[in-house]
């Protein structure tokens, strides 16, 4: 394992910083957090610089990429801005679509993506009664073969990008909402299809991404809008969970690093009781432990990304990564806030935003408890497979 950055990676990161310098000012960040969306022109600029094309197959105009570069780009984006940039995930969503969509569906998605720079679809998966426990889902798909259509019903919640994405990726149980039905189908549905309504949910952090409850009331779609295979919806969706965990972990790390740097700069300048803050041992210890945590997070993330790129299974390591980085980033942000003191608890400092945003990563893309659920089984398999 060699984590030395290549010339290309260094240039990409320099270009990324230039992108942030030109497009992402603190005033704009606050505006995006207030209005729950990033301006199209900024998303498009990110896409045009190529970052939004990572992982999308070349035949659709994408850039062949690797998890290590993706992790570095996402980490640097958050570190530089000290905020959540929703467009970090747009390329991976297209990668999902390209994994199980027909060429026509992918082309349709790319067209929408290129036009607005916004994520081309939102994912309607969770329900009020089915979050991590997705088997409890009750949304249904009724197959009306006579008319060649499907009728979608159900209430979806915590749908990120619902207001900005032109399409919704809907997942529901075929015909029967009962708990034991494991036949799921997925559809790519235009957001403005009759029968779809939505209502905003207000998160405390990461509000640059809109978040909604979405209602499907007898929504009729052509059967050709089916994504992938009928009945295999959920398995398909799980396919890319591991790279998503790597990406979200990079988000956590970038925020933690931004918090650490902010705290270190403050500690280097602020004078209390006659000396610079960092010379007080309690502060020096905090900084030390924050640095250890950031280095650990980075080592773990880069190693997991390296394994992913080299075809080594990362079911366990991506879950460990997701759990460790989301919780640890919040600790680092919290310590940074403590170093900055009362000022850190005001909106004058960006540390509050970093702390709230880092906390959200314990829910997004699988809670920290679900990561234990996955890891626990994998750990026993790893060390005691003969006893199972």
């Amino acid at each position: 394992m060699d984590f030395t950055k290549t010339d290309e990676q260094e240039l990409m990161l320099e270009n990324l910083r230039e992108f942030c310098d030109r497009w992402v000012t603190e005033e704009r960040i606050q505006d995006w957090y207030d209005k729950r969306r990033v301006d199209d022109e900024v998303c498009k600029a990110y896409l045009e610089a190529g970052f939004g094309y990572m992982f999308i197959p070349e035949e659709y105009g994408g850039i062949p990429s690797d998890a290590q570069t993706l992790a570095m780009v996402v980490e640097e984006l958050m570190r530089t801005t000290g905020a959540t940039m929703p467009f970090m995930s747009y390329g991976l969503s297209m990668y999902d679509l390209a994994t199980f969509g027909t060429p026509e569906q992918v082309a349709k998605g790319m067209e929408a993506y290129n036009e607005t720079g916004q994520q081309c679809f939102s994912l309607a998966l969770s329900e009020p009664g089915a979050g991590s426990d997705n088997q409890s889902m009750t949304a249904t798909v009724h197959w009306d073969d006579e008319n060649g259509t499907c009728v979608l019903n159900g209430t979806k919640t915590m749908v990120s990008h619902a207001e900005t994405a032109p399409y919704i990726m809907f997942i529901g149980k075929d015909e029967d909402p009962s708990h034991d039905n494991k036949s799921y189908s997925m559809f790519l549905v235009p957001k403005d299809t009759p029968g779809i309504t939505m209502a905003p949910l207000h998160k405390i952090g990461q509000t640059s991404t809109n978040f909604d409850e979405v209602y499907f009331d007898n929504v009729v779609v052509p059967q050709s809008d089916l994504l992938g295979e009928k009945g295999k919806g959920f398995k398909q969706l799980m396919h890319n969970f591991e790279i998503e965990r790597i990406m979200l972990s990079a988000h956590s790390l970038g925020l933690a690093q931004a918090a650490l740097e902010e705290a270190a700069r403050y500690a280097a300048q602020r004078v209390t009781f006659g000396q610079k803050l960092f010379k007080h041992q309690l502060i020096a210890e905090k900084l030390t432990d924050m640095e250890i945590k950031c280095q650990n997070m980075r080592n773990m993330l880069y190693k997991t990304a390296w394994e992913f790129d080299n075809g080594i299974p990362v079911r366990l390591d991506s879950a460990l990564c997701k759990r460790y980085l989301s919780t640890t980033a919040t600790e680092v942000a919290s310590d940074a806030m403590q170093i900055i003191g009362g000022l850190g608890y005001t909106t004058e400092s960006k540390i509050g935003r970093i702390w709230i945003d880092a906390r959200g990563d314990s829910f997004a893309g699988g809670t920290e408890e679900i990561m234990v659920h996955i890891a626990g089984r994998e750990i026993v398999k790893k060390y005691a497979s003969d006893l199972l």
Partner: protein, 254 residues
């Protein structure tokens, strides 16, 4: 048509440190493209795309300029090929020496119709290499370009002078240097970054170019300036009477 853009590679000034004896410490400064040359590359790339021309970049300097990342940086910005002379004989080279070498390189590359240069280098900002290169080539030159266009036989340059705006037309081959406002450097796309390493880089030797000319200017020393002594009386607006004290100091000089 072939366009050549002149590029200077030098230490990144963000990382230059000043030593206790006022000398400069470049040990932490990585090579980079001189700031305003990025605008020249962009203007050249846009003109090359418009005129369907080939674009080559030409650079010379001490051995330290031969840095793979900087080479790729240049080649990721719409440049087709890079030509380089990296020779320590060019350490602190003056405009005459640099102009002579760049002209020899342009001649060696062959078939160049238009040379584009930046406004001035980040280190000396002498704004002379454009004109020195032109004189060595025996080509006409115009500086301060804010817009340029070519019909294949002439180049038309809009230039902003201190109090005038001029549009000058001259026959090719010619040299044009451009003001920074001519074009905003692109944020090189990821695809272009990935493709840059595959583009040709041609390295010349000083001998192939007829050697480096004798210097015309001798550098005696380079030292950080002695800072102007200041009183440093700082008031905190949170304290009683601070604003009054600050205003009183202002009134002293009004």
């Amino acid at each position: 048509m072939k366009i050549a853009v002149l590029v200077k590679i030098l230490p990144d000034d963000q990382d230059i440190q000043v030593n206790g004896d006022r000398t400069l410490d470049f040990s932490r400064a990585k090579s980079t493209v001189s700031t305003y040359d990025l605008n020249a590359i962009e203007a050249a790339a846009q003109l090359a795309a418009k005129a369907d021309a080939q674009l080559v970049a030409v650079t010379c300097g001490p051995k330290s300029i031969n840095d793979s990342k900087t080479r790729k940086n240049i080649l990721s910005r719409g440049v087709d090929e890079l030509y380089m002379l990296a020779d320590d004989g060019l350490e602190l080279a003056d405009a005459y020496q640099t102009g002579r070498i760049l002209a020899a390189m342009v001649q060696k590359i062959g078939d160049v119709d238009l040379v584009i240069a930046g406004d001035g280098s980040a280190d000396l900002y002498a704004q002379q290499v454009d004109i020195q290169t032109a004189e060595a080539l025996g080509w006409p030159a115009i500086n301060g370009g804010t817009a340029l266009d070519t019909d294949g036989t002439t180049v038309t340059v809009t230039r902003m002078l201190e109090t005038e705006r001029e549009v000058i037309r001259m026959p090719l081959p010619a040299v044009v240097s451009v003001a920074p406002e001519v074009a905003l450097p692109r944020i090189a796309g990821m695809k272009d970054v990935l493709a840059a390493g595959k583009k040709p880089v041609v390295e010349f030797t000083a001998e192939e170019l007829g050697g480096i000319a004798a210097p015309t200017i001798e550098t005696v020393e380079i030292l950080a300036p002695v800072p102007t002594p200041r009183k440093k009386q700082i008031f905190d607006a949170a304290d009683e009477g601070a604003i009054d004290a600050f205003v009183a100091a202002l009134r002293e000089v009004m």
